[in-house]
């Protein structure tokens, strides 16, 4: 493993220090724990996301105007503690309540649920929307067990926009849940990322093989194949999505082609070319496309395709302006 780090046990702390040197004019850090937030100046419902580190710019890179209000930052691939989540919660709550939006992993739900109980003791109302967009991680019948991957981006975007409209917690939750319900992703892995503190790789894969549906922490996928051309690969992935959610002529979608760390933008655009052609051929209208590295796993190679099926309501919130140093949307 080659990494540009100092003490492997201090990577999160040192990353945040460097992040704040760069963007301390926008962000604040909670005093005792690894929480990143912006001031809730307009006294709206606050949106908090979070999860393990190692996926940058998720999660704290999606704190910003029209996005999340705060992020609880865990150790590498480990959910943040209830104390961290609670500290961020207290920092951003303006008395309107807090919506937790995060990927559906046991560690995250345990810690966020515990924070939610602690928050109730302090009369802070919380609600939760779990992102479970990864269709490879469980069957359609077991969709509630699916993990969250790059779909976090769309769901956080919509949550932040709904909160910025000044809507009450119940309504922000309802719209955000709708975004989560409308979002599907599938990924493919080419080579693993490594964990700074152990120096180990997150999974093993043969040099000439790829794995469909492999999770962002190395969770096993659904199918291993020899490496193939981008168009064929994209075609297979799109079929998985179409088998899971009905997307037909006249429907509208937002696309995110997300790189996992070391796959180049060149490759991601080649994928997006095929994704777009397949959709247009079906008569599907593309509302917006994003090609970027948002949800990464260190130096892992591979990518995911995310589609969010949008109606007028979701489009309204998706189209609102948003800004962070790692994500922007013009109004």
């Amino acid at each position: 493993m080659k990494k540009v780090i100092n003490d492997p046990n201090k990577v999160v702390q040192e990353m945040l220090e460097g992040f704040l040197y760069a963007h301390g004019n926008v962000y604040k850090k909670t005093p005792n724990e690894n929480g990143i937030y912006i001031e809730n100046e307009k006294k709206q419902v606050a949106v908090i996301t979070g999860g393990g580190s190692g996926h940058e710019p998720l999660f704290f890179g999606f704190v910003g105007e029209g996005l999340a209000t705060g992020a609880a930052v865990g150790n590498v691939f480990a959910a943040p503690t209830p104390n961290t989540i609670m500290e961020v919660t207290k920092a951003v709550d303006a008395g309107k309540g807090v919506l937790y939006v995060y990927g559906n992993y046991s560690g995250d739900t345990l810690n966020f649920d515990m924070a939610s109980e602690l928050a109730e003791f302090e009369d802070i109302h919380t609600a939760t929307v779990l992102v479970n967009d990864d269709i490879a991680s469980a069957s359609k019948e077991e969709a509630h067990n699916r993990r969250g991957i790059a779909g976090d981006v769309f769901v956080i975007k919509v949550a932040g926009a709904a909160a910025a409209e000044g809507l009450p917690l119940e309504k922000v939750t309802e719209i955000t849940q709708k975004a989560a319900n409308s979002t599907r992703s599938i990924g493919v892995a080419l080579s693993p990322g490594s964990i700074p503190s152990t120096g180990r790789y997150t999974f093993e894969i043969a040099e000439d093989e790829i794995e469909f549906g492999l999770g962002i922490h190395g969770e096993a996928g659904i199918r291993t194949e020899k490496i193939m051309e981008a168009d064929k690969l994209t075609q297979i992935m799109m079929e998985y999505i179409f088998d899971d959610i009905e997307i037909t002529e006249g429907d509208e979608v937002c696309i995110l082609v997300n790189g996992l760390g070391s796959t180049t933008l060149m490759e991601l655009f080649i994928v997006n070319r095929k994704v777009t052609e397949i959709l247009l051929e079906k008569g599907v209208k593309i509302h917006h496309t994003d090609v970027n590295n948002y949800c990464t796993t260190q130096e892992m190679a591979g990518f995911s395709i995310t589609l969010m099926k949008v109606d007028e309501e979701l489009k309204t919130y998706y189209d609102k302006p948003a800004y962070s140093p790692y994500y922007f949307k013009r109004g």
Partner: protein
């Protein structure tokens, strides 16, 4: 598996319990490479790191050794884990210690009956939070048999050494049992049948905790420092 060699009623003082958990913490920290290996096979490899963080923080508190009741020792370890570890393990192992003494009267000495009651509460607490049952390939697969062994030991009026020996052996068998199981929780869940043949990391830590408690109390007995009432 009853062992009636110790029929007197042994107790541990507050200070001995404190030192016992310092010993337990050191043993778990020493096991980090083992836990990392086990977790890398079917999880994401961070269980050993997490347990080290949790116990290191707990040991910093325990080393001051100034508690006047056993409840505070358990609570301190639990809070250190929940507050510092993160991940599923932080909440679940923290809950193991915290829920054990939640709502309990002041405990100034630890006998088999109290030990059994504490870990019975721990089991209930962890299950309420984590929702796992025996057979799901989690820490419960080691904890539940250990708790049953403690309860039986108490019913059979065994001493502390024999009780902890039985609990430790039960936990070890529970770890062995996890090898044939498919996981229902955590990241191992997505591996399906591929996890068969591998033991669960959380169950392994439970087994190390009970084995270390057993070893510590055996050592006290050897030195003639185990008190009887």
């Amino acid at each position: 598996m009853t062992n009636k060699t110790n029929s007197t009623s042994n107790i541990l003082t507050v200070e001995q319990v404190n030192n016992m958990f310092i010993y337990v913490g050191e043993k778990v920290i020493e096991s980090k490479p083992l836990l990392t290996d086990i977790d890398c096979a079917i999880g994401d490899g961070d269980h050993g790191i997490g347990m080290e963080v949790g116990f290191k923080n707990a040991l910093e508190k325990l080393e001051a050794n100034n508690y006047d009741k056993i409840n505070d020792i358990f609570a301190e370890i639990g809070k250190a884990m929940i507050g510092n570890m993160g991940g599923a393990s932080g909440v679940l192992f923290g809950t193991l210690f915290l829920s054990g003494v939640k709502g309990q009267e002041k405990i100034e000495q630890l006998d088999v009956a109290t030990l059994s009651a504490i870990f019975q509460n721990s089991l209930l607490g962890v299950q309420a939070r984590g929702k796992a049952e025996v057979g799901d390939k989690t820490m419960i697969d080691a904890l539940s048999p250990a708790v049953n062994a403690l309860r039986e030991a108490n019913e059979n009026k065994l001493g502390l050494v024999a009780s902890l020996r039985n609990a430790s052996e039960a936990a070890k068998r529970g770890v062995e049992d996890t090898k044939v199981l498919v996981a229902k929780f955590g990241r191992a869940k997505s591996l399906g049948e591929r996890v068969i043949g591998h033991q669960d990391a959380g169950a392994t830590t439970i087994s190390i905790i009970f084995e270390s408690m057993q070893n510590y109390v055996e050592e006290l007995e050897k030195k003639g420092e185990l008190l009887n009432v």
